[in-house]
């Protein structure tokens, strides 16, 4: 399969700050690829490197096999949906969407026809005459999407496109984006700090931390089989068991992850003390203290919660305790 985007040892340093440090990525054509990480982890810089807004200080970037070195953004068949949408305030919606076609020298009638079709695709038919300031946040987001898609990019970059939307709208847009990507078959590269978003939408997720990719894989892999404590904590809010505890439980001295929903109360098992419990509707989040770690459990409805401070025993299926490969 062809690579849509390939990074080989790409770094972007600002003086002593290593925004992106020796990153290798291989994004396949037609893939929905998410870059997940906390703010400042380098994910947005990677996106900007693909778009051409930033230049790598080291390494090689290829877009569909062609080196991107020295190519300005306007010479790349890559389009971006910006975090703040970046709609042109002086143009109405239809001219915003048709902007790229206008620059490409297409006639007015033709570009308006195509822009209108793109607006229809994002469920905003007939909104062309409005100014961006007259639209809601969700509508602006769709216009930004239409403006990028009308260019028929080979790769579509999305920089936290759902970040400014409220929860309900965000969930609806997640479905729509996913469906759109399937239908168009365009490679999507999606930057987010929301692990739920990344896991539910992407074919593959790259987890960023401190300028480096710490794990790449399918959502299930990243969620259930974190390789380093950072991924366990950031992606799945998993319990990270320190090597000493893991050694006592399994005989192997490694970090291990344990999903909160896998933990249950049992007559026999790891001794622990309940520190606090909070009710979350379908389940109860309980925090336990053991000899060398704090363990969080999501206890399902119906389980009787002992009073805080009680001594209990914790158990889980052996398959749910996942040994990590990463050292730290």
């Amino acid at each position: 399969m062809t690579s849509a985007v390939r990074f080989s040892g790409v770094s972007r340093h600002y003086g002593a700050v290593r925004a992106v440090d020796a990153v290798d990525i291989d994004i396949a054509e037609g893939e929905f690829f998410a870059m997940l990480g906390p703010s400042g982890s380098g994910k947005t810089t990677c996106l900007r490197l693909i778009a051409g807004f930033e230049q790598p200080t080291a390494g090689r970037i290829e877009i569909f096999g062609q080196p991107a070195q020295g190519l300005p953004p306007y010479r790349r068949q890559v389009n971006t949906v910006f975090q703040d949408y970046a709609l042109f305030p002086h143009l109405n919606v239809i001219d915003n969407v048709a902007y790229g076609l206008m620059i490409a020298g297409r006639g007015k009638a033709e570009r308006h026809r195509e822009a209108e079709a793109a607006l229809e695709m994002v469920a905003l038919p007939g909104y062309g005459g409005r100014k961006p300031s007259q639209l809601s946040g969700g509508q602006r987001q769709r216009v930004a999407l239409a403006r990028a898609l009308v260019m028929r990019p080979k790769v579509l970059l999305l920089d936290e496109p759902l970040g400014a939307l409220d929860l309900k709208l965000r969930e609806a847009m997640q479905e729509e984006l996913k469906a759109l990507q399937r239908r168009l078959g365009i490679t999507f590269v999606f930057v987010t700090h929301d692990q739920g978003e990344a896991l539910s939408m992407a074919d593959r997720v790259a987890v960023f931390n401190q300028g480096q990719i710490v794990q790449v894989g399918a959502p299930q892999d990243v969620y259930y089989r974190p390789q380093v404590p950072f991924v366990a904590d950031f992606v799945g809010s998993s319990n990270v068991l320190p090597p000493a505890l893991t050694e006592r439980l399994t005989g192997t001295r490694r970090f291990a992850s344990l999903r909160p929903e896998a933990v249950r109360l049992a007559a026999d098992g790891l001794p622990a003390v309940l520190r606090s419990a909070s009710f979350h509707g379908a389940n109860t989040r309980a925090v336990f203290e053991t000899e060398d770690a704090q363990i969080v459990a999501l206890l399902p409805k119906g389980v009787e919660i002992p009073p805080e401070g009680s001594a209990v025993h914790l158990a889980w299926d052996a398959a749910d305790l996942h040994l990590m490969t990463g050292a730290s």
Binding site: P73, Y74, F82, A86, H90, L91, G100, R140
Partner: protein, 268 residues
């Protein structure tokens, strides 16, 4: 605490201050119609429109007005180009010496006008440049740059950097981006800056006395009338016209720049 209501004393002081700033200007309007020719008598003994006709037929007034308008137009144009370039450079990138550039732009109005004037005059003398229309323009453009610069910098600051990236992302090169995105977004700020620069140039007298040679701009004409009055009523009429002419660009600039936050802060 009653922090939401202004005390009577504060209201009176603010109102008195505003009146102090405006009453003298209103007086100019009254004097333009007085029948008294020889003195500044108050109250005016009578009112007449005669002096408007007299002023209308004075070629020296027309010449001065025409020179002032031409100087202001050309100086404004130069100041708009230079001020915009400077603002673009300062707001688009961080570089060594940015502060120095800002200081350099502000210097011609931060220093007393007489210093700018005498410095330019002695430079013209040294370089043996004869006084002309262009020496006046050179002086005016120098201190007008800052007005355009201030307006443009403020707008650049409010224009999101991602607009430029979005334009390039959609296939526009630097020049197309300038033409289709940057220019439309800063246009009103530039126009406002231009109007203020025009008003500034139209009114300037201190630097002009040093760079004008024998030509008289309207302020120079007025200055001569103030120092050696010839026909006071004509001066009164000209003073009123000057007030009106400078108010127009100021009001224009105000309407162009007010409420722009909601437009430029798009998507934030």
């Amino acid at each position: 605490m009653s922090s939401d209501r202004a005390s009577l004393g504060l209201k009176l002081a603010a109102a008195a201050g505003l009146l102090f700033m405006h009453l003298p200007l209103l007086l100019i309007f009254v004097y333009a119609f007085t029948t008294e020719e020889k003195s500044y008598q108050w109250p005016p003994p009578g009112f007449t429109l005669k002096w408007f006709a007299v002023t209308w037929n004075r070629p020296d007034v027309w010449e001065a007005l025409s020179l002032s308008l031409r100087v202001a137009a050309i100086s404004t144009l130069i100041a708009m180009v230079l001020g915009t370039l400077c603002a673009a450079a300062v707001s688009r990138s961080r570089f060594f010496g940015r502060e120095t550039i800002s200081l350099l732009v502000i210097l011609p109005i931060a220093l007393p006008g007489i210093i700018t004037g005498i410095a330019l005059r002695s430079a013209f003398n040294l370089a043996e440049i004869p006084f002309s229309f262009w020496t006046i323009v050179l002086g005016h453009a120098t201190f007008c740059i800052v007005v355009v610069y201030n307006n443009a910098v403020a707008r650049f600051r409010r224009t999101s950097a991602s607009l430029i990236e979005a334009s390039m992302d959609l296939g526009a090169d630097s020049f197309q981006t300038f033409r289709h995105v940057i220019l439309p977004n800063i246009a009103t700020a530039l126009l406002a800056g231009g109007m203020l620069a025009f008003a500034l140039s139209f009114d300037e007298v201190i630097v002009t006395t040093f760079t004008a040679g024998q030509q008289a701009t309207l302020p120079i004409w007025m200055l001569e009338e103030l120092v050696r009055p010839r026909q006071r009523p004509v001066t009164n009429v000209v003073a009123m016209v000057v007030v009106l002419v400078t108010f127009l660009p100021i009001l224009g600039a105000y309407y162009l720049t007010r409420g722009t936050e909601s437009v430029a802060g798009q998507g934030k």
